[in-house]
Symmetry: C2
Subunit: 570 residues, 2 copies
């Protein structure tokens, strides 16, 4: 007896005989889609309240070219109360609103003012929903007035959202021009949970084409800018969140990360970001490049970004308490555990000075050194972590990203015939590129992933290490379309490790972070990435490092991060 | 820049240009491996204590052919104390040993006696470790004597192990002749956890070739027999566990299930079995057919089997408390939750009378009806569950099992050139068989799996159902090499649902379970599976049904099962 095939016919063969090599279609794109892009941007522009814009005297005309520190502008423009409110953390805001020392309405108004300036200077918004935010805040204030209590732990807290989470009644396109007509019916599970906790939505932020650059360019809103130097990249793919929160135009945002997409914008804009292990927070109804397939060798994790470690914990513990697994079958029912904050001397931390593939740039090395010294001085046990098979992990990651031979990206891009951004061209060559992987190859790589995960767990146990502190990227924020090596971040995606990216208080300094011109690169990656180090560009840019742990140790990682924040005073 | 490939070369192309079609190699097998099989069986035979064997007058000569109920024998042979001990549940044993009302040594001795008879009659053992068990029990008694406490929650409890979990210092072959030289260095994580909890290991039990029949035949120890009727199948792939625990030769055993391998032997031998969701219990260092690949579309879950629902809980809560994720990166850190036992009226249960593919045989329908009536009478809310896309789920499962084009099975089988058992030949044709799936096909199927999981969660929520009670298989225990349709069990593997298989107290009765010869089968599966119903064979055979729930609801499923056990008096 052979099994009769009735319901499923996946025999669209030959699936790989001719790889789908993407070619843009300028004519169709120009005719059918450019008008939609224009309408989208017009709506974005018209939603910007002119009365809150920073005067043009306060910033250079060509922000894309100027090494302009946009974070200095808000304090020159905002009224004192708005400054005071927007300089608070989400935790402080939630407390003050609950205590009726602040209303949700005055809170959102302050953030609307600052977000206006943030978008004006960094181009961080995909969609502005200020009116919705004002309306929602008013409803929350009325609720609190009427019932004498808050609606949830985030009552009145403005929360910014990366664009690709479904937003009821709005277009959700994930950075693909061809999805500009895709209206979401419902909130993503994450948006719904945050909404039910009392969050006020008011802005959706930018992401790059394909959601797969550690940078920001897409064909809808163009490129984004770094908050600390507008000529540089804000990182990505949670590009807008990085710049917006770096500008304090949002106290708390939601990013997502399959290769560094929360961590690189956090590091490049001097803020905090948590990449949990996968499936702890829900990705249900988050737009993904894939649609009718489900790749699972490397997974995307959603996580919070903010200006303080407390806010990451506020987000996580209340989100997890909402039990996303009740609505999303793919979320894991791992309850939030209350764990004690360790004493510095309880912690053993391994520092990574070099992943064995690309040596970090001088500002990053200096930050690592300073963090090591400060932690040691505070009593933390610090060892140097000998890197383990990072190149191998990066290869598994790269092969996994494009294992479908770019079938999904091809379909999404082909919908509009849009042109490829330079870093999309780069991304599409990852692994075996358009050729994709055969099933057995994929399973060999997946096996390697499992081996690596076990080896790392064994190493953590054998070396007695609680956490690793490592570079988030080789350097500080790069120039646009520059960053190509993902190994410092994608390693932890392959391992599915918990990561907290944190500001170190260290900034690039061209007078001391000199380039070693005599350094002999060990491989092609290093030749490229070490080669692009530019002390001038790096000058004044924040260095963010990443604390990485075992899988599903978000609770412990945040407590350890608090210890580190106290020691580093960040 | 293209990524230089240094560490990994998986380009063993063309991987699928010529499928690996397995052909046995009788000459090599006979020459190199049959002597090893003989030595293995000689060791098994010589480990059987002759003094505990049942006299040959008590059972028919040809057990394979006779419809002999082996469960009646122990009470005719065993001394009263051994009977008393072996009739206890693991929970009772653990309590009595902890209270010093029983020693570990007298406990293991009683089970050794009964296991001897069980193996004699059902051929359930792969490896007998009675001497190890006696030594270990003695050590535990000494420990308790010396320190005045037990070593752990399973102190002195005999625990039987399906063979394919690595056992330190012993051969672990997983039912493949070609692995008869494969000596395990360490315990599997599961074995280690149970050992540390105080379990006494004394027997490793049988499994079929490839670990992929709902039956028992392998080329090492041959076929196993059902405890209630030795002419019938014990089910599989945890074949030996089913028969051994059905004979009460073990109070608590460990099975594993990727398509029904805990549930079918539990149902066929009238015992309890829990298939948790995957990754809750550790599969680390469990022998798998695959070695250098890692397929993840459908996962195997390890779980307990026993004679009482209390024992399943005893196992689970103490196992999970040992935190397997500390040693195994692939185990999820989901702590055991203490949940209350519901009142019958708190429960809403959906009953499946037909999965839409194969109508169950009369004894199963009668058991479903009786359970429905008993539950209703006790106050449980019972509805009829309309089946949802079971055929589609079965197709996803079948395609996933052989997605590698039988590459792994081919390699394992080729090591010895062993002949294929009939149900291995059947299994190797599942899905696309030797052709395997292309990467995109695999990802389409995986996507379908995700959709099904979400649809089922939504249906549970919409219909307000806590659990479903469904057939474990179309009928009672089938004849050897007969069972081909896995849909009633593999559905829950595709959904990764928690399942508890329980005895109903209903047994096949040829006088009332008449065959409907006029029934018109709806498809090929049903024509075959409904066609094999044999009232004579089914007569006197236990009907085990399965309670299925959401993912990771082991705690609630066991509490609900206790309510059901109380109502059904099983």
């Amino acid at each position: 007896m052979s099994a009769a095939k009735v319901f499923i016919d996946h025999a669209k063969e030959p699936l790989f005989s001719e790889p789908s090599i993407y070619k843009s279609d300028p004519e169709r794109y120009e005719r059918d889609w450019v008008p939609k892009i224009k309408a989208y941007n017009d709506a974005l522009k018209s939603a910007m309240p002119k009365e809150y814009l920073a005067p043009s005297t306060l910033y250079p005309e060509d922000l894309d070219a100027a090494p302009f520190n946009a974070t200095t502008v808000p304090e020159k423009v905002l009224d004192e109360k708005s400054l005071q409110i927007t300089n608070m953390t989400a935790t402080e805001l939630a407390k003050k609103i609950a205590a009726k020392e602040l209303t949700a309405s005055e809170t959102i108004l302050a953030f609307i003012k600052r977000a206006t300036i943030a978008h004006q200077l960094t181009h961080c918004a995909m969609e502005i929903l200020f009116e919705d935010g004002i309306k929602r805040a008013k409803e929350l204030d009325e609720y609190q007035e009427k019932y004498g209590k808050t609606i949830g732990a985030l009552h009145g807290v403005p929360v910014s959202l990366k664009e690709h989470y479904d937003y009821a009644g709005r277009v959700t396109h994930g950075g693909f021009v061809g999805c500009l007509d895709r209206v979401s019916e419902k909130f993503s599970v994450t948006n719904q949970i945050l909404y039910d906790l009392g969050a006020v939505f008011y802005i959706r932020t930018t992401e790059p084409q394909c959601l797969m650059h550690l940078d920001s360019i897409n064909n809808i809103t163009g490129r984004g800018r770094n908050a600390y130097k507008t000529s540089l990249s804000p990182g990505g793919s949670s590009s807008g969140e990085g710049a917006l929160i770096g500008m304090r135009g949002s106290p708390l945002g939601v990013g997502s990360d399959i290769g560094g997409s929360i961590r690189s914008p956090a590091a490049f804009n001097g803020i905090w970001g948590l990449k949990p292990s996968t499936k702890r927070l829900s990705m249900a109804r988050c737009f993904a490049p894939f649609e009718d397939t489900y790749p699972e060798t490397i997974g995307c994790a959603l996580g919070p970004m903010s200006n303080s470690v407390d806010d990451l914990e506020l987000f996580m513990k209340n989100y997890v308490a909402a039990e996303p697994w009740k609505y999303d079958q793919d979320s894991l029912p791992i309850p939030w555990r209350e764990v004690p904050t360790p004493k510095p001397s309880d912690l053993t931390i391994g520092i990574v000075y070099d992943d064995g593939v690309v040596k970090p740039h001088p500002p990053v090395l200096r930050a690592l050194k300073k963090v090591e010294e400060d932690l040691k001085a505070a009593g933390v046990n610090v060892i140097t972590w000998d890197s383990h098979k990072v190149y191998e992990a990066a290869e598994v990651a790269n092969a996994a990203y494009t294992c479908d031979g770019n079938y999904s990206a091809f379909n999404r891009l082909s919908a509009s015939g849009e042109p490829l951004a330079p870093l999309t061209e780069h991304y599409l060559t990852f692994g075996k590129g358009d050729k994709g992987l055969k099933t057995l190859e994929l399973q060999f790589y997946t096996h390697t992933r499992e081996v690596l995960r076990q080896e790392y767990l064994d190493l953590f146990n054998e070396r007695g290490v609680d956490f690793i502190i490592a570079p988030t990227y080789v350097g500080t924020a790069p120039k646009t379309s520059e960053i190509k090596y993902w190994g410092y971040t994608s390693l932890w995606n392959i391992l599915d490790a918990t990561c907290v990216t944190f500001p170190t208080g260290v900034f690039g300094d061209k007078s001391i972070d000199l380039k070693d011109e005599s350094y002999k690169p060990r491989n092609e990656y290093e030749a490229y990435e070490y080669g692009i180090y530019d002390p001038e560009a790096s000058d004044g840019m924040p260095v963010g490092l990443t604390l990485a742990g075992r899988r599903y140790c978000e609770e412990e990682a945040l407590k350890a991060s608090k210890v580190i924040a106290d020691i580093l005073k960040v």
